[in-house]
């Protein structure tokens, strides 16, 4: 079973994506902030990370920077899923290795699942 780590502080949304992904046969892990995500990531080695940008303690961009030095996470593909669609942030995310950048409100959960499947392939 493929493991997805969702880094999302809005419970209403993380629950939604978790439910949908579990229905599609994924194992889902949740983290609310960057450091927590790194701990969970190290311990569970996910197949893909779904990353929000506006997080409580530090920005999702910091996850992209930090993961580069973590053996267990440096090769794990990241899908940025945020409502923050500032061009600079988008470019920065791609520079730091994000595979794609989607705006949460522009996609139904099934479209996001499709994207995740495509990235895991």
């Amino acid at each position: 079973m493929k493991k997805i780590l969702i880094i999302e502080d809005e419970k209403i949304l993380s629950e939604m994506y978790k439910f949908k992904l579990e229905k599609e046969g994924f194992e889902v892990l949740n983290a609310m902030e960057v450091d927590e995500a790194i701990e969970i990531g190290k311990a569970n080695k996910p197949d893909l990370v779904v990353l929000d940008i506006l997080l409580p303690k530090e920005s999702g961009i910091n996850y992209l920077i930090k993961m580069k030095n973590i053996e267990e996470l440096k090769d794990v593909p990241v899908l940025v899923l945020s409502n923050f669609d500032d061009n600079e942030t988008k470019n920065k995310s791609f520079e730091l290795g994000a595979k794609d950048y989607l705006i949460k409100s522009n996609h139904d959960p099934k479209e996001i699942v499709e994207k995740i499947k495509e990235l895991i392939k």
Partner: protein, 535 residues
């Protein structure tokens, strides 16, 4: 020559500048009339100056006198016309008769000035002055002049005192009246034609007039707004240049005092205006920044709950929470669709704020316009099918050249128009075609058989928060931002979007023209483009 005669030239230069500025900066008819009137006054002033300088040469005196009379003949109907425009009386019954009459008579008298029936012969008098003798035509002209100028002053006076008029119009009428009343005092010199001679102190009223009008324009926004700085700099330049043009000028202590005072007033007004202008600009920037930040924050905040509504309803629809009963599926679909349309509105608002902040960048690369349109068609095919509409893509027979631009932005604009075409078409369908114009432009045409656009709305629909009447009837929801954003994206590529519609229910055709200059290249040339540019 007496000192007041010298004042005519800088004043003429000033009034020419003021006239030009008001014409260039103001769009109303009164600005154009004021411009012509200013030119007439300048011609009068220069004619008068040259007449004085030509004393001794009778032919030149007659010539310049005729020129200044010609200018006066033109000024009369223009001043009358200006009074009607300012007082908003052009539509009055009597104005419709008197105004053409004023112009016709003005032209007749102007023609007459070239003949000996207006002025003829030269006489000389004290102070180094000379003038022509008034003839029959001149007598009638005087009656005409006094009549129409009185009408103009009466109109302006009545309006300036009219309590029902807006403060703006009242002030405008008041300053115009004051200005031209003062100017008419400079016209006392006309009495010279009848042998009544005196020291030409009356010319001082012309610079005085120029100052009043300049003051009214700079301080009271007469004719145009916010041109104070330009005019004041012009006024200072004119005053200072007087010394250079007329180094021999002996103006005495009073003359020097006047010039110094004028310089002082102009400079202090200039400083005051500069400070005001800076403050106004800062305030406008602050408000605009606050507005865009506010919209941006609110929109981002809105996206989270909207994403939840959209996501959960979509999952309910898909049966992720169990089979959905028939009764519930209809309202759930409504909620989902409503959230999607609200998300589109939020996206539109965000695009507008980004456009206003100049935050949108183009990611330029070479791309195939053909593939892009195919992609658009695929994305909306289902939507058209569901509505029972046809959606055709008429491919050009010749292969299309590659286009250099931001594919995402151009696609956004094309999608917006195709989506609108489907949305506002009830029967029939939509046809998309592409052609290359003058080997430098790509034209994408989107033709529908929909509700059409009223002629007067052709420009308006591209403005922000603006929608066509027929569109609102058919689809009451919508922000009116889609076409504005599409137009802005295409404009960023130096292109344009135009629309053609024969009217109500006759369909519309949108043309997206993207000029490519050197960016359209042949296949062979494209192969030579460095790979990093093609990314």
């Amino acid at each position: 020559m007496p000192f007041p005669v010298y004042l005519l030239v800088p004043s003429a230069v000033l009034i020419i500048m003021v006239g030009f500025y008001s014409w260039l900066r103001g769009k109303k008819r009164e600005n154009l009339i004021f411009f012509f009137l200013s030119m007439g006054q300048a011609l009068w002033a220069i004619g008068s100056f040259l007449l004085w300088s030509s004393c001794g040469n009778d032919i030149a005196v007659i010539f310049w006198d005729r020129i200044l009379y010609f200018a006066t003949c033109m000024m009369v109907p223009l001043l009358y016309h200006l009074s009607l425009e300012i007082c908003e009386l052009t539509q009055r019954k009597q104005s419709k008769v008197l105004l053409p009459l004023a112009y016709v008579l003005g032209f007749i008298f102007a023609g007459l000035t070239a003949t000996p029936y207006f002025v003829d012969g030269v006489f000389y008098y004290a102070f180094g002055g000379c003038h022509t003798y008034a003839q029959t035509g001149h007598h009638f002209f005087l009656i005409y002049l006094i009549t129409f100028i009185s009408f103009a002053f009466y109109n302006l006076y009545k309006t300036s005192k009219n309590e029902k008029q807006s403060q703006e119009i009242k002030e405008k009428a008041y300053f115009t009246l004051m200005g031209y009343l003062v100017f008419s005092l400079a016209g006392i010199g006309i009495a010279t034609a009848y042998g009544v001679v005196f020291y030409p102190a009356y010319y001082i009223f012309f610079p005085l007039f120029s100052i009043i009008i300049t003051y009214a324009i700079t301080e009271k926004n007469l004719f145009v707004a916010s041109m104070a700085t330009d005019i004041l700099i012009g006024a200072i330049l004119v005053l200072v240049s007087t010394f250079f043009f007329f180094p021999e000028l002996e103006m005495g202590i009073i003359g020097k005092g006047v010039i110094f005072l004028l310089l002082l007033v102009s400079c202090s007004l200039l400083l005051k205006h500069n400070h005001q202008e800076i403050r106004r600009k800062e305030e406008a920037e602050r408000i605009s920044k606050l507005k865009t930040e506010f919209i941006s924050i609110v929109s981002h905040q809105l996206r989270t709950p909207l994403a939840a509504i959209r996501g959960y309803t979509d999952m309910i629809k898909d049966g992720d929470y169990g089979v959905l009963g028939k009764e519930l599926s209809v309202p759930i679909n409504y909620i989902h669709d409503a959230s999607v349309s609200m998300i589109k509105m939020v996206n539109g608002l965000l695009s507008v704020t980004r456009l206003e902040r100049g935050k949108i960048e183009l990611k330029v690369k070479y791309f195939s316009i053909d593939n892009m349109i195919e992609g658009c068609i695929q994305d909306v095919e289902l939507k058209a099918k569901e509505k029972g509409l046809y959606l055709k893509y008429e491919k050009p027979t010749e292969p299309l050249p590659s286009v250099r631009g931001d594919e995402e932005k151009i696609k956004h604009a094309v999608m917006n128009i195709i989506n609108n075409a489907i949305l506002y078409t009830v029967t029939g369908g939509v046809t998309v075609s592409v052609s290359v114009l003058y080997s430098s432009n790509v034209r994408i045409s989107i033709k529908d058989t929909g509700v059409g656009i009223e002629k007067e709305e052709n420009e308006k629909i591209f403005e922000s928060f603006s929608r066509g009447k027929r569109g609102i009837e058919l689809q009451p929801q919508g922000t009116g931002l889609g076409l504005y954003v599409a137009k802005s994206f295409i404009a960023m590529h130096k292109g344009k979007i135009t629309v053609f519609s024969e009217g109500r229910d006759k369909g519309s055709t949108f043309y997206i023209d993207i000029p490519l200059r050197a960016d359209i290249i042949s296949k062979q040339e494209f192969d030579l483009v460095p790979p990093e540019l093609k990314k």
